[in-house]
């Protein structure tokens, strides 16, 4: 049902903290997994069991350095486990859905709290803002009300956020709907009836402007996204992967931050990729020269094959790349094409099987039968 979290003194953040505290105090859950501000001023997810500590919870901090789906995994993946509420951005929720299907996380005993997202800054930018006059959250909230979202002057949103068309909370057990909302009248929230009853929240009418505002932001993001896709596809066609990833230094950062790349031992860190010294000599002789570390394009093309169908576009790979390569742009652009082939939308539903572990006998029946 739809309800409103009461807001006092226009303090949206305090109201959200209060809501999370209620979840704990009423024992709806045993812990809340939420972005917290550390004493040193950084923002990091933490699993909070003591309601008093939720005064440091910062679910609205416009920064993303880690996709929280990664940390939901270990907390939920097997029994026995606690009853937990996890506060997530839409891209984190989508990553979680994919991880559930990859059997790296579970939705059992988990209450997902998905919050509308205006876009986020990189960790360095966020730190810079804090050091130089602060992060203007009021402007972001105001922008969410009208749909005129702009980053703080002198900064831009993370590359992925600028082209993210899936920023609205459309799934999850609890949805915090900030777009189009007059927050002085309370924060619109959608949650199961029994939980609302448990928390003592009453039904409230829908805020009329949300759909229109979400639509407006979606249109501008789709426009930005399509421009990026056109640019990156043009480059891939002209230069190939070896052109776009030419400056890669093989730090594997993109893979390390990727919430979907869950393999405990990546093929590229395994003995399969350790070759005999004479093997390198053979390769060098065969081609005249051999790029080292070996298999750099193989790394990127393999990653595309292994996970692009599940790429939910959080773009942390781009932020993590020391060579400033458009990793996330490539993955999103290629992902869109491939997802269309298999009619698959990553992160949409745990009911939709991963395209590469399922099949239909009667599909593509001409493939392999060519004479």
């Amino acid at each position: 049902m739809r309800a409103r979290i009461p807001v006092e003194n226009q303090d949206t953040l305090a109201a959200l903290r209060g809501f999370l505290k209620r979840l704990l105090e009423t024992e709806a859950v045993e812990a809340v997994l939420v972005p917290m501000e550390t004493p040193a001023g950084a923002v990091t997810p933490a699993l909070v069991a003591d309601p008093a500590l939720l005064d440091a919870a910062d679910p609205l901090a416009p920064v993303l350095g880690l996709n929280a789906a990664r940390v939901v995994g270990p907390v939920t993946v097997r029994e026995p486990r606690g009853r937990v509420a996890a506060v997530l951005r839409p891209c984190e929720y989508r990553a979680l859905v994919e991880l559930v299907k990859l059997q790296q996380a579970s939705l059992e005993d988990l209450v997902t709290v998905v919050v509308d997202c205006p876009g986020t800054y990189t960790v360095p930018d966020y730190q810079k803002m804090r050091a130089n006059g602060g992060v203007d959250r009021a402007a972001l909230l105001a922008g969410m009300r009208t749909g005129d979202l702009a980053p703080q002057s002198g900064y831009s949103f993370r590359d992925a956020c600028g082209m993210c068309e899936n920023f609205a909370a459309v799934a999850g057990d609890i949805r915090v709907e900030l777009f189009g909302a007059d927050l002085s009248a309370g924060i619109p929230v959608v949650l199961p009836d029994d939980l609302a009853g448990h928390l003592g929240l009453e039904a409230a009418p829908e805020d009329g402007r949300r759909a229109e505002v979400v639509d407006k932001v979606t249109r501008s993001r789709v426009q930005a996204r399509d421009a990026v896709f056109a640019e990156i596809r043009g480059r891939l066609e002209k230069e190939g992967v070896e052109g776009v990833f030419a400056a890669c230094v093989r730090c594997h950062n993109c893979m390390t931050v990727c919430p979907i790349c869950y393999c405990k031992t990546c093929l590229f860190k395994s003995p399969v990729m350790e070759h005999e010294p004479m093997q390198y000599m053979a390769w060098a002789r065969r081609k005249g020269a051999y790029r080292l570390p070996a298999d750099t394009m193989l790394f990127h093309l393999t990653r595309l094959n292994h996970m692009v169908l599940s790429c939910i576009g959080c773009g942390l790979c781009t932020d993590a790349c020391p060579a400033d390569l458009p990793v996330g742009r490539v993955f999103r652009a290629v992902g869109q094409q491939l997802q269309a082939v298999f009619d698959y939308v990553p992160g949409r539903s745990v009911e939709e099987p991963l395209p590469l572990i399922t099949f239909r006998e009667d599909e593509w029946s001409h493939v392999g039968e060519e004479r």
Binding site: R233, L236, E237, K238, E239, G240, V241, E242, G243, A246, L267, W283, R286, K287, G288, A289, Y290, R291, D295, T296, M297, L298, L301, T302, L304, N305, H306, V308, L309, A333, V334, Q337, L338, V341, F342, P355, L356, I357, T358, F359, R360, E361, E363, W364, S365, V367, G368, E369, E370, R371
Partner: protein, 142 residues
């Protein structure tokens, strides 16, 4: 392109139960086919990781043939159905990445189809001769 003496190199990943046996049959029945193919035997087409195919292509193989049992005949029930999806994904990615997806062929060839195996290799060699060498042969910076 004329043939110019160019002899394409094909790496073939064949499933043990059907295509590999088919290739064997071609041999024992003395069916002629060009010697351009290096065969790697796997238990099932479903165990071909796209990485193997990519490694061969990036290192300069002119073509990669993946052979498995006809749909319905996989000895592990569904390996070939999954391989089919994987190859479709791989070829689409190659296309997107600006690489030549038509160097990768997937064919269902049963244990009794020695002739089909020979025909497939002959066809593929002809196709690759016309197409020319894999440009990755000379690309050291990949």
């Amino acid at each position: 392109m004329s043939d110019n003496g160019f002899e394409p190199k094909i790496v073939a990943f064949l499933c043990n139960w059907c295509t590999y046996t088919g290739a064997d049959l071609a041999g024992t029945s003395r069916i002629q086919y060009p010697p351009n193919v290096r065969i790697i035997r796997l238990m099932c087409s479903g165990s071909v990781d796209p990485t193997y195919v990519l490694k061969a292509l990036l290192d300069g193989a002119d073509g990669v043939l993946i052979g498995g049992c006809h749909p319905g005949d996989c000895h592990y029930q569904s390996g070939n159905y999954k391989a089919r999806r994987r190859v479709i994904a791989l070829k689409e990615i190659l296309k997107q990445a600006g690489m030549e997806e038509d160097r990768v062929w997937l064919r269902w060839i049963s244990a009794s189809e020695g002739q089909r195996f020979a025909d497939t290799v002959t066809q593929m060699v002809q196709y690759l001769k016309e197409k020319g060498p894999n440009p990755m042969k000379r690309e050291w910076a990949v």
